[in-house]
């Protein structure tokens, strides 16, 4: 993460500093001076025996860091957690990716990992909702499902010999449209029980991808009740999709009303503020920021200004300290 880059006036600077200090005092003190940079030697007690973990190397019997980051110790294991690193997938993570390539029976997705992730045609539900073998025809029609540059939501399935595999075996996964994709540092998104959120009062969906991709878009109904309709039309859909001639009806269906668009922008800016301040991104905090901005009548574009940033930092400090007291 970077220094907070906001043009601040003197008073704002003081206020921000104060808020950050409160936050710091609330956080654990354990790691406060454990930051290392490349080739720093890490102090260990050799008598206890050490396990050298990620980001460490051996130099003349000394343990040295090979990464810039924070030293973490778990029993005998000593490792360095990098400050700015790419996303490390874990099985079951919900991620959002961008299609970079349509290949043989698979899509390749950019998910901010070392390698592109693979989404097999066979490991996703067909849009018509029928369970069947994927035919050669399906393969030819893959671009009708996802194209290059589409934003797709999926789940990490696991590592196979040819890379990282994803799956999208549910209605909630799939192509995302009518919204905004935001990229934040992956460590700001913590793994939670729920990553799909529907903010009913605003009519928007919020998906927090574990890879630091956050989707804010118009709410889409989970289309379970529509499966039957679509099955009857499935032949149409597979065989005669006419991409270029979108009917007027279709256009109307795809139209997002202004109100919703504004809420989408508001939520997106809330995420942006959080990422510039380096706060964790959770539903509760985002909701808090949207409510704050609405109650104070702050314009959408002013949410990115320094005044609002300072305000959010103060609010967050307040929230955390009150949480602490409750405990």
């Amino acid at each position: 993460m970077r220094e907070i880059q906001l043009p601040l006036s003197q008073t704002q600077k003081v206020r921000l500093q104060k808020a950050l200090e409160t936050l710091e005092s609330l956080s654990r003190k354990v790691n406060s001076d454990a930051s290392v940079i490349v080739a720093d030697s890490i102090h260990v007690n050799h008598e206890d025996g050490v396990l050298k973990g990620h980001g460490t190397a051996d130099l003349n019997g000394e343990v040295v860091a090979t990464l810039c980051g924070v030293v973490e110790r778990v029993n005998k294991l000593v490792y360095v957690r990098a400050l700015r690193a790419k996303y490390k997938p874990e099985v079951g993570d919900i991620v959002i990716g961008r299609v970079v390539e349509v290949a043989q029976k698979r899509w390749r997705l950019y998910i901010n990992y070392n390698q592109d992730a693979v989404l097999m045609l066979s490991s996703m539900n067909m849009p018509d909702g029928v369970q069947r073998r994927r035919t050669a025809l399906d393969e030819l029609n893959m671009r009708r499902i996802f194209e290059e540059k589409d934003v797709v939501c999926a789940e990490v399935r696991g590592f196979q010999y040819d890379g990282l595999h994803l799956q999208a075996r549910s209605r909630k996964y799939g192509k995302l449209n009518r919204g905004q994709l935001l990229t934040v540092p992956p460590y700001l998104v913590k793994r939670q029980k729920q990553h799909f959120h529907h903010l009913e009062e605003f009519g928007i969906d919020l998906i927090l991808g574990c890879n630091g991709f956050v989707w804010v878009g118009e709410h889409v109904e989970a289309k379970d009740d529509m499966i039957e309709d679509e099955v009857s039309q499935s032949d149409h859909q597979v065989l005669l999709p006419n991409k270029n001639s979108v009917s007027l009806e279709e256009q109307e269906k795809n139209y997002t009303i202004l109100e919703t668009r504004k809420y989408i922008c508001r939520a997106a800016n809330a995420v942006r503020v959080l990422s510039t301040l380096g706060f964790n991104i959770t539903l509760e905090i985002i909701k808090g920021i949207i409510d704050l901005s609405l109650s104070m009548n702050i314009d959408i574009h002013d949410m990115l200004g320094s005044e609002f940033g300072v305000l959010v930092a103060e609010k967050e400090a307040e929230r955390r300290s009150s949480n602490k007291k409750k405990r």
Binding site: R2, V36, I37, A39, V64, L67, C68, L83, N114
Partner: protein, 256 residues
């Protein structure tokens, strides 16, 4: 000669280098002063800052006197070129100059030789085994060049790599010296580089005391080389200290 150049259209200006060469040598005798008023064994003030480019996974900016360089690191990411499976990662380096880097407006093109040298200097320091099948791209852009670009690029690139969270054995610091008959001049500027008898560049990992690259050009005697190497190694150690303090600063900032 003068009449000839007067007759040619104004758009053509003959290069001044030939006449310069004749004038310069007396300047570089026993008691000359360096153009920027430094002592022979004094480096230019160095400035480093990480995080110059937001889109990159890691980046650094370096300024040595008037030499200004920005390096951005992308990756590790999937190798774009279809290639054989490899157990170790690939390092891809590219050095380019802006059109306004030199006093004479240039083409601002890639510099093949520097790219290759940068690659050689860095590949020994990076633990390539940690990212198999992937590529790390290092793009260096020289914003303003006034001598000793390559050492600056190399030092700056290693800082950018560290910023990107790529595993390395140590930071890489690089310093060059120029030789003028009897004198050794550290961290030469372009004017000095143009008139040097020989140059020596050392790229090393100071905390391990290992050298990743050594380049010698021109005339050198063995004792001179020894002296030059000592000078460089000493300067590398000091340079690395500055680089480390820059990284430390960045790390403590993000701790907040």
């Amino acid at each position: 000669m003068a009449g000839k150049s007067g007759a040619t259209p104004a758009t053509y200006s003959p290069s001044l280098t030939t006449s310069d060469k004749k004038k310069k040598p007396p300047l570089f005798n026993e008691d000359w002063v360096r153009p920027d008023g430094r002592a022979f064994q004094q480096c230019r003030p160095a400035f480093f800052r990480t995080g110059a480019v937001n889109a990159a996974s890691g980046s650094a900016y370096a300024e040595f006197g008037n030499t200004k360089v920005i390096v951005s690191v992308f990756g590790p990411r999937e190798s774009k070129k279809a290639m054989m499976y490899s157990d170790i990662g690939r390092l891809n380096c590219n050095v380019s100059f802006t059109t306004f880097a030199t006093p004479v407006r240039g083409q601002g093109s890639d510099h093949k030789e520097y790219s290759a040298m940068l690659h050689k200097a860095l590949e020994g320091a990076i633990i390539l085994e940690t990212f198999p099948k992937t590529t790390v791209d290092v793009f260096a852009l020289v914003l303003e060049s006034s001598g000793s670009e390559l050492p600056v690029i190399i030092s700056c690139a290693s800082l950018a790599l560290a910023d990107a969270g790529i595993m390395m054995y140590d930071l890489v610091a690089s310093v060059s010296v120029s030789c003028f008959s009897k004198n050794l001049v550290i961290d030469p500027i372009s004017e000095e580089e143009n008139n040097q008898d020989g140059s020596l560049m050392i790229t090393c990992m100071p905390s391990r005391y290992e050298i990743t690259q050594l380049t010698v050009t021109g005339e050198w005697s063995t004792p001179k080389i020894n002296e030059g190497m000592q000078l460089c190694l000493d300067a590398c150690g000091k340079l690395a200290k500055i680089m480390r303090s820059c990284l430390k600063e960045a790390a403590s900032d993000s701790q907040e």
